[in-house]
Symmetry: C2
DNA sequence: CTGAAAGCGCTTACAG
DNA sequence: CTGAAAGCGCTTACAG
């Protein structure tokens, strides 16, 4: 069944040179637009290239000029096939960022080398190392490596982390979580006048989550609202985690606060679901907000009030910063992007107004 | 601001060899697990590698052994920032497939080199050529290149296309569109007894769409139903396209058939929306079905009856087939994956039953 | 088991 | 403007 012709055994720049009757140096030059080749030379080379369907080998090129024009991107793969069910959103989140990275890369002729890591893969460091060897720099999504792991990696290759913290050798790009939460709290406490507020947190080891929780506590205190937090409010960024918090609270006979901020939309989804199961109305009995503005947020019942992060821009910025670092070295270490309050109905509003935020 | 230490000027296998007091050949062997190095030798090499944080250069490696362990993936990027609004689904669709490819790649130690192409990028062939030079093989999403373009490309590097058609030199992997549509028509015509059926088509140049339309016509005819098709029913896979078909039909005073199959979920979304605008109820007045089973399909009102394509598996299969082709050559040219009928409520059913299909 | 050396396919000073 | 040649960092027969 295999094709008879075998234009395999790849042709090289030597084949092109021979056919065009010039040296390989000339072929290389016209292919790269260097120097000022005679029109005659250029034409013969181009024709030979076309006739042969020649494409220069990227590995040889990279080895020779020290630039692969590739950036590695590493992200967490959810276990199993959950993406087919409810968890497909966090997933989308990563992909939107990756698209942003790709957009930036495109502008500079770079491509993305993508590699996911499972929660219980054992050879993670090794895998990322292999990726590093194939790239000019690395972009690491949230929660891929410990701080020391990142530092070690950053010793070998330029590294940009997403939604983490900068290390002496790596750059971090993140969204302004703090402002986002503050806008949410002010809207709930001031615009709606809710006097008791809860926060269902995300994974406890997430920098984003820590920042959000701190901002929640300080802003809620500033607004003079009653605050509900603590171990019982510990979620994990998943819908199941959010639902679980509500169920436990209710089972323990607790009275819920008037409004509950969730660490992310996914959590809010679970919370709203759990509330519905118990016959508690959103937003009449309890107002709910999310964080992220994932695509289904607008389709929920009620439509979810949340904070939109510029995910695409986050990715594009990450690439830009990495690129600058690769070509120039140095640069800023901690980059923060603004977010936007998106007011829908789960907070108790009825319109579809979007409030801009810094 | 730039870090003082510069462990740049990459270390090479020579540095490791010197430190370990062995030859570069030995370093290479222990790193690759070849031969039977003395425990002593291996330990010294490993220690040097660790102390130096050495990672072999992928380009040099690829050049030397002729394997990059990279597959290129090319897909269409929507113009602008529409992914933030309604069109984020088709988008997700591509990403799910890419995740599937990545899963397959992972198993064989390959990484994905990703590159998107915009609708009005001019140097497409060139860009894909560059990608080919960096990879061992290419996977092309739907609608990237003409048949001759694909054939030409397949001359230089192993190529697998998705949802297209095989060429003499390239492999194609697709879902069983035909069975999917037939299951839908039978459900509508036989189970529900609808006697008039319409089909809002996708882009006219899409192989998937052609197959679906043909299957629709033949199965609807077999069921003895009245068929509505033609230019007025031409959509383009987008929600706007679907809405437009309905509006035009209604504006022209046409009577809609009892059930309308849509080329994909995105189209169905637009159709349902347009129907709602005109006060036409789904499924009471007109039953609607989609194709794809995108994540929001279950969240629509009413929940969408559709056909689920194994997108993740499609990607994984594409990689597997490409991999086999890279390492062994040859192999099957046209691969078809089964789909599944997902019955929800937009067809007129009330349950949540899922019917399996071959 | 281990080392010296050739070779992978390019790019880029260096001469001419 | 163009060619001969060195070198990029590995892998892999080939000797020993």
């Amino acid at each position: 069944m295999s094709a008879p012709k075998k234009p395999k055994e790849s042709l090289t720049i030597y084949d092109v040179a021979k056919r065009a009757g010039v040296s390989i140096a000339s072929v290389s030059r016209v292919l790269n637009g260097l120097g000022t080749p005679r029109a005659d030379t250029r034409d013969r080379v181009m024709q030979a290239v076309r006739e042969l369907s020649f494409v220069p080998d990227g590995a040889a090129r990279a080895l020779s000029n020290g630039l692969k024009e590739v950036v590695g991107v590493v992200f967490r793969r959810e276990s199993g096939e959950t993406y087919l069910e409810g968890e497909d959103e966090s997933f989308l989140f990563i992909d939107v960022i990756n698209r942003g990275i790709e957009t930036g890369a495109q502008r500079h002729g770079f491509d993305l080398l993508i590699s996911s890591v499972g929660f219980n893969d054992d050879n993670v460091a090794q895998r990322i190392g292999a990726l590093a060897g194939k790239s000019d720099g690395l972009i690491l999504h949230d929660r891929m490596l410990s701080a020391v792991g990142i530092a070690r990696l950053a010793d070998m290759v330029p590294v940009v982390t997403l939604a983490g913290s900068p290390t002496p050798a790596s750059i971090n790009v993140r969204c302004d979580n703090e402002s986002g939460i503050r806008m949410l709290v002010r809207h709930l406490a001031n615009d709606h006048g809710y006097r008791s507020l809860g926060y269902v947190s995300g994974r406890s080891d997430s920098p984003d989550n820590k920042t959000r929780q701190r901002a929640f506590e300080s802003e809620a205190a500033a607004a003079g609202a009653d605050i509900e937090t603590g171990p019982a409010w510990q979620g994990n960024y998943s819908a199941a985690g959010g639902a679980n918090v509500i169920e436990s609270l209710l089972d323990a006979g607790k009275k819920l606060p008037r409004a509950v901020l969730c660490a992310n939309d996914q959590t809010a989804l679970g919370v709203i679901h759990a509330l519905g199961q118990r016959g508690i109305r959103v937003p009449q009995d309890v107002a709910i907000t999310g964080f992220d503005d994932v695509p289904v947020a607008r389709h929920l019942h009620p439509p979810l009030t949340t904070v939109r992060q510029p995910m695409h821009e986050l990715g594009a910025t990450a690439f830009e910063v990495l690129y600058r670092r690769i070509s120039l070295g140095g640069g800023q270490r901690d980059i923060v992007l603004p977010v936007q309050l998106v007011v829908r109905e789960s907070c108790g509003c009825t319109g579809g107004a979007v409030k801009d935020g810094g």
